[in-house]
């Protein structure tokens, strides 16, 4: 280390240096030992995860998949609704970290870490559902292409097989992206910790020192990962939408599905980022590093995607009418007026009407209002998937084969269990990792 005379006089810090250190302290103080209430919440969610998800799933494995409500004609119940919902939630994490990085948006720095963590956890939640939905989960490896005894391979023309590849790639790349962003921050945390944790954070930082070589390679790595993640995020939800759109089911078999699903995913993801970050900002005292202006920008993104989703709802009807296909139009008439009309109008209310007041600047800047709106949007987007999946399957071609579906207790229990898992993981993340990207915040200081 060089120790020549250029060091500033001790005690008199340069204002930029002081600002950078302030950012560091503000973010690291959020990682201090949590109180009893915090641990209580973690314990509560952990219990919920154990009882509602693991317990109910164990019972379903023991008794058989018939414990759930899926029966002909509705073979895909709320397990698949949850799968699509959680994949959608994951998407805005990648949007905020990768797409906004490529667009050089400043407001991403407040949210990208939390959003990336949310992505990783939400993909874990989503990944559970295809397994939960399997009748005999111990045969899940049949989904993977492996050289078996009879050399039979999976059907790569099936959208369900594309999903296996899309979701596992998405999980892997999200984890890598999340970890890469954390490397310099772990090195900063090392400076603030003692004892065993210091060694752990030191090992996690891989020996990061911020040398020229390291930054040069790091910047290239980050830009390339962002470049990969951007088309990936579009492809993953498109593939999820093709699970439906490739099927000859009225209400599903449309080309609008991929863009419609991607917009919906970003919409619900922005809402979930708000749901998580607004309480986190308060509890962790992050007011200085997460300014209101950035929340306002996120609210604008949410409003914009809300309008895309609203447009898609209208266009779907017009396309169905214009197609002249009685089955296609029948299913849409049934959506608005049929057995699931409450779900449908609930979805329209939550996703199209509730976000509209965000055109008023004052409301966009009110965190309490944003929080309430985000909860409505989360519910609305869950209902959207319910309407699409169950509404279409319940009323296919032959009226003789129509039938309605109602989720059974085991399905509801598992759904609650995933929410518990999600919040438990997020609370743990918020205490063991820096929740805002420190080096990126520092870059803004001049």
């Amino acid at each position: 280390m060089a120790h020549s005379g250029e060091v500033a006089v001790a005690g008199a810090k340069h204002p930029a240096s002081e600002a950078r250190l302030q950012i560091e302290r503000d973010i690291i103080q959020a990682m201090q030992k949590p109180g009893l209430l915090y641990w209580g919440l973690v314990g509560l969610f952990a219990t919920g995860f154990g009882v509602f998800l693991l317990g109910a799933w164990a019972m379903q494995i023991y008794k058989g998949i018939g414990l759930g409500g899926q029966l002909n004609p509705v073979g895909w119940g709320i397990y698949i609704v949850n799968f699509v919902f959680w994949v959608g939630i994951a998407h805005s994490g990648t949007l905020i970290s990768a797409v906004l990085f490529l667009f050089r948006s400043k407001f991403r720095a407040s949210f990208n870490r939390a959003a990336e963590a949310m992505t990783v956890i939400a993909v874990m939640c989503a990944g559970m559902y295809p397994l939960i939905h399997l009748g005999r989960v111990w045969y899940f490896f049949w989904l993977l292409p492996y050289p078996n005894q009879r050399m039979l391979w999976t059907n790569f023309k099936s959208p369900l097989e594309w999903d296996v590849f899309a979701i596992s790639t998405y999980l892997t790349i999200s984890v890598v992206f999340f970890y890469v962003g954390l490397i310099p921050d772990f090195a900063i945390v090392k400076r603030y910790t003692r004892g065993v944790s210091r060694h752990v954070y030191s090992a996690l930082s891989l020996g990061w020192l911020g040398t020229r070589e390291q930054w040069r390679n790091y910047n290239m790595l980050y830009a390339l990962l962002a470049g990969f993640a951007t088309p990936l995020v579009l492809s993953v939800h498109s593939v999820v939408s093709w699970d439906f759109a490739m099927g000859l089911v009225p209400g599903w078999h449309t080309t609008i599905f991929a863009p419609y699903f991607v917009a919906g995913a970003i919409f619900s993801g922005c809402a979930m980022v708000l749901t998580l970050c607004i309480p986190m900002r308060k509890i962790q005292k992050l007011e200085r590093v997460m300014p209101i202006e950035h929340f306002e920008k996120l609210a604008k993104t949410m409003l914009f995607t809300s309008m895309i989703v609203g447009y898609a709802y209208i266009v779907e009807f017009i396309l169905a009418y214009y197609s002249g296909n009685v089955y296609e139009f029948g299913i849409f008439r049934d959506r608005a007026l049929g057995h699931y009309k409450w779900q449908y109008w609930g979805m329209v209310f939550c996703n199209v009407i509730v976000p509209l007041p965000l055109f008023i600047k004052k409301l966009r800047r009110s965190l309490a209002y944003l929080f309430v709106t985000s909860i409505f949007v989360n519910i609305g987007m869950w209902l959207e998937r319910f309407v699409i999946i169950i509404g279409s399957l319940a009323h296919e071609y032959t009226p003789y084969a129509w039938g309605n579906y109602k989720p059974r207790p085991v399905e509801i229990s598992i759904t609650i269990g995933t929410f518990c898992f999600f919040f438990m993981m997020f609370l743990l993340f918020a205490k063991f990792m820096p929740v805002v990207a420190i080096t990126e915040k520092k870059e803004e200081v001049h």
Binding site: A2, H3, S4, E6, V7, H14, A16, S17, R20, P145, M151, L152, W153, T154, F156, K157, W162, F165, A166, S168, T169, T172, I173, V176, F177, V180, P184, A187, I188, R191, S202, A203, S205, L206, G207, W208, L209, G210, T211, R212, E213, Q214, W215, R216, N217, Y218, N219, M220, L221, L224, L225, F228, A229, L232, S235, T439, E440, K442, E443, H446
Partner: protein
């Protein structure tokens, strides 16, 4: 030499380069990426991108070959659709391009930056909040 502000750090770097110190003899450390410093020192793009190119191409090739060869190993005609269908296999090839490309980017980063640096991990050397310049004695 240790600096607290980016401005002083960049100023000193410019001065050093102007005085004829070779950029490769200058080692720097910074609390955040400084793109101006790279311009001053005339740094070439990182080799990480080479890893990504190889990884991505390997992924695309694997995706197309794996799907096509397994489809041909047990021919199963359905609804007069082609046995080797390019559009559906493109989805798999795309996902594998991203997967292999992303993982090799990370691998490339570790190799080019010589990480994990075990000696630094166990030492007391820290990632500080200051800009540093060290000139190697040539």
């Amino acid at each position: 030499m240790v600096f607290e502000s980016e401005h002083d750090f960049l100023h000193k770097l410019e001065e050093l380069v102007k005085n004829g110190v070779k950029p490769r003899d200058i080692e720097t450390r910074a609390p955040h990426p400084v793109h101006r410093a790279e311009e001053i020192l005339g740094v070439r793009p990182s080799h990480v991108r080479l890893f990504v190119l190889i990884g991505g191409l390997t992924g695309a090739t694997t995706g197309y070959l794996f799907t096509s060869l397994t489809a041909l190993s047990w021919v199963l005609p359905v609804g007069n659709k082609p046995i080797v269908g390019i559009p559906p296999f493109t989805v798999i090839a795309f996902e594998l391009t991203v997967l292999f490309g992303g993982l090799s980017a990370f691998l490339g980063f570790l190799v080019t930056s010589r990480m994990p640096a075990v000696r630094t991990i166990i030492s007391n050397d820290e990632f500080k909040d200051s800009f540093e310049i060290r000139v190697k004695k040539g």
